[in-house]
Amino acid sequence: MPEAQLRVFRGSPGSSGRLVDYDVPVEEGMVVLDALHWVQAHLAPDLAVRWNCKAAKCGSCGAEVNGRPRLTCKTRLSDFAEGEPITVEPMRAFPLVKDLVVDVSWNYEVNRRIPPFQPPPDRPQETWRWQQEDIERVQEFRKCIECFLCQDVCHVLRNHETERPFMGPRFLVRAAGLEMHPMDTADRTSHLKDEGGIGFCNITKCCTEVCPEHIKITDNAIIPLKERVADRYYDPIQIAWRKLRGRGSETGPAADDGNAP
């Protein structure tokens, strides 16, 4: 039986950690997560790996395989040349918990601060009507499985200390899903600009490259949001026009033409 040489990061907070080699017998169709499980069951029962569904649906098993953020349940051993060592490291943008597990709780804090979905007041028994074309954009964003690989690869979160926090691509995607929802009435433009720090994003698209759900994060979520922020804060003609018409920040279905502010 052929073997794969796995080089797995082992370490705890405080220690610098090290890469440990494990030889793993390879079966057809095996993915990196299978190999890690084999290591757990046979060589290192205390190897910490976060995973749930093993079907690329829950987004728990993100790690950096040969330096590239991937879902380990979707990364097949057959993608690597035989004899080539396969390095598995934790998502580096976040603090280490142990081995391949990192502390992603910050992401949940960011999420909690996004103004939630706010429907217009109506009768609850009434059926909402909208067309499929109204929600295709939103549905793309709602495919997100929160693996946080985009947060991990985003150089703003990974390499920079910014003067104000930056929410990161995952939550720009979430905000876009709310902002473009045909029934949402909340306004998140100032949140995006100020608390969310959308200006820190310099659209270098690494988030889009690593997204296992193939969400076009930059083109479909972040740039349209940047343009909405520009509408509000950086477009002198639009600002003047709004002042003239005496309108502030209406949004959602109530606004004429379904316009964002």
Partner: protein, 602 residues
């Protein structure tokens, strides 16, 4: 050194953050209770994300003839009338409201041409009934509920395992567990506890379930003195992946068949025609042509007089059919059968089944728009569970509630696809309300017995004192192989007795388990308590299966191949007695008179 254990008191503690747990927590918080929500994984990763096809609710958007009465009838018929009729009734009546409510909370379901929620057909449902979002409905649901729960200010304790329930003689008083990241113990004193821990699939080798599905809630409830119901009814989903080995058991959504997927054996025969039960044959298409007409109408979202294809028979039936084909030598090279959707336009397949397309392309190098998938049965769901009160989710133990897959009664002997997501919503909401009301009626938090906490702590640390002894992975593997081979789709008395003996043997080895490494994030250590739970649940399944000497729904006995009228109105009941698990029966609750006409024709 004596350090005080971290404590988080709440009115209502919800264990499990899948659809049912989240919905219960939201409801309890809405009723004004202080709510804590504990989950083994990160928030939003629960097994609900794996649900694909949709949530069943008689909205009647696609088929105006649909109603809660028809949904009720389908559910009862699918469950072979072993369902708790009150649960089936509440479920059918309230599911549409729960779905509309989700939409009010931000869920974005696919639409009909006139802009309402689109519904797709599924096995055993008389009408297209499943509200869906492509084939990632579960993700949509859990994200919507998660956002709602976070917005409601519910305290969420992530990656925290509950290993023990704390009790007083008259009621449950709290829960004890540990933080997985640090291994440190934590106590949650609570007036009421809602168990919403999902299922037991990891007791089997081939399963569509994630590692979390180790029957924790079933076992905790049983240990705390509550009763389990109908544990012999384990649903084997007909279509799991069979190749490559690494993904064996991974779910292939029933939506593939709902969209027109055809099952064939290796000879190309559309074998489902042979396996339609005679008394139901009139509900299915008579010819390939009629089935094709039906599929075309579905694809175009128009109504039709054509009847549904035979592949949309109930899950228990399709599973047995596939299993039989393979056993009789008509299976594929890898021990499955072919499921083919490639005769439909590629664009349509990619739009309606995006994650299936992705899953096969990425994991099996199969393009489902050009070729067939290979599929076979996989352990998917347990119909049985903790015995609960239909209206409130209260178990037979004071202060303890249960909702979702961990609760029993709703689905009878076989669950219809799509009824689980609606189950989570309907009974999540009801149980949340029930637990909040019971908590409000309880004057104050009860005293936590320090002896129980000390014992629980000792249980936690004991495996570290025995390194080099029994390995939890080996015990788990042996259990899985026993359950797969002897308590699987087809069962016999000899197999079941052998399984019970082997499970007993594993139980006697469990106290010997030793663990190496430290407490922080140690998966071997996590497995110790999961194996304990799986052993309890597996024994409950095997003993219940042994007791039911008939074949009904998902429970198929090779030595008793027919339904036995003597068992038609009996549920199995398991409870913990002094000398182990005790199995008895209880009468199925009587059908109220006003519901009787709905299923009288059966």
């Amino acid at each position: 050194m004596k350090e005080t254990i971290e404590r988080h008191p709440h009115d209502v503690l919800v264990v499990g953050a899948g659809g049912a747990g989240l919905r219960a927590a939201i409801e309890a918080a809405d009723q004004g209770a202080s709510v804590g929500l504990v989950c083994k994984s990160l928030l939003g990763k629960a097994h609900t994300v794996m649900a694909e096809g949709g949530v069943a609710a008689a909205l009647a958007h696609v088929a105006p003839a649909d109603s809660w009465q028809v949904h009720f009838r389908d559910t009862m018929v699918g469950g072979k009338l072993l369902n708790n009729p009150r649960m089936a009734e509440l479920h059918a009546q309230e599911a549409p409201d729960r779905v509309r409510e989700l939409e009010r909370w931000g869920a974005v379901f696919d639409r009909t041409a006139d802009g309402r929620i689109l519904q797709r057909p599924f096995g055993g449902h008389s009408h297209p009934r499943l509200a869906h979002v492509g084939d990632r409905t579960g993700l949509e649901m859990i994200r919507t509920l998660q956002d709602r729960a976070v917005g409601a200010g519910i305290a969420v304790y992530m990656e925290c395992t509950i290993s023990h329930l704390l009790t007083q003689p008259d009621r449950v008083t709290g829960a004890f567990g540990y933080w997985r990241a640090t291994g440190r113990p934590v106590v949650f004193p609570a007036k009421t506890i809602v168990l919403a821990t999902g299922g037991v699939g990891r007791a089997y080798q081939v399963s569509s379930n994630s590692w979390e599905y180790s029957g924790d809630g079933h076992a905790l409830a049983c240990l705390a003195g509550a009763e389990l119901l109908d544990m012999e009814f384990v649903q084997f989903h007909p279509t799991g992946m069979v190749w490559p080995p690494g993904v064996k058991g991974l779910l292939v959504t029933e939506a593939v068949r709902g969209e027109g997927g055809i099952l064939r054996n290796k000879d190309g025969e559309r074998f489902m025609w042979k396996y339609l039960p005679e008394d139901r044959r009139h509900e299915y298409a008579a010819t390939d042509e009629e089935a094709t007409t039906w599929v075309e109408a579905q694809s175009a979202a128009r109504s039709t007089d054509a009847r549904r294809p035979p592949e949309l028979s109930t899950r228990d039936n399709v599973s047995r059919a596939i299993y039989t084909e393979v056993r009789e030598g008509r299976g594929t090279e890898h021990g499955g059968v072919f499921l083919d959707i490639s005769y439909l336009p590629a664009e349509h397949v990619r739009r309606k089944l995006p994650s299936m397309y992705e899953q096969f392309k990425e994991l099996a190098d199969v393009d489902i728009t050009t070729g067939p998938m290979e599929v076979g049965p996989t352990t998917h769901y347990i119909m049985g569970g903790i015995r609960v009160d239909a209206d409130t989710g209260a178990t037979t133990r004071q202060g303890l509630f249960a909702a979702g897959e961990v609760a029993g009664g709703m689905h009878g002997a076989n669950r219809l696809g799509g009824n689980s997501l609606s189950d989570l919503l309907v009974f999540g909401q009801r149980t949340g309300a029930g637990a909040a009301a019971a908590a409000a009626a309880a004057p104050e938090l009860r005293h936590i017995d320090p002896i129980q906490v000390r014992e629980a702590e000792r249980d936690l640390s004991a495996p570290f004192d025995r390194p080099g002894r029994a390995d939890p992975h080996r015990l788990h593997e042996e259990l899985q192989s026993t359950m797969q081979s002897q308590v699987g789709i087809f069962r016999t008395e000899a197999d079941l007795e052998e399984a019970i003996r082997r499970i007993g043997d594993l139980r006697s080895r469990w106290p010997d388990i030793g663990i190496s490494g430290g407490r922080p994030y140690n998966p071997g250590w996590d497995l110790v308590f999961e194996v304990r739970n799986m052993l309890i649940v597996s024994e409950a399944i095997a003993r219940s299966a042994l007791q039911r000497r008939e074949s009904r729904g998902a429970h198929s006995r090779l030595d008793y191949t027919e339904p036995d009228p003597a068992w038609a109105r009996l549920n199995s009941v398991v409870r913990l007695a002094d000398d182990g698990l005790e199995v008895t029966t209880a009468s199925v609750p009587e059908l109220p008179d006003e519901l009787r006409p709905l299923i009288e024709t059966e």
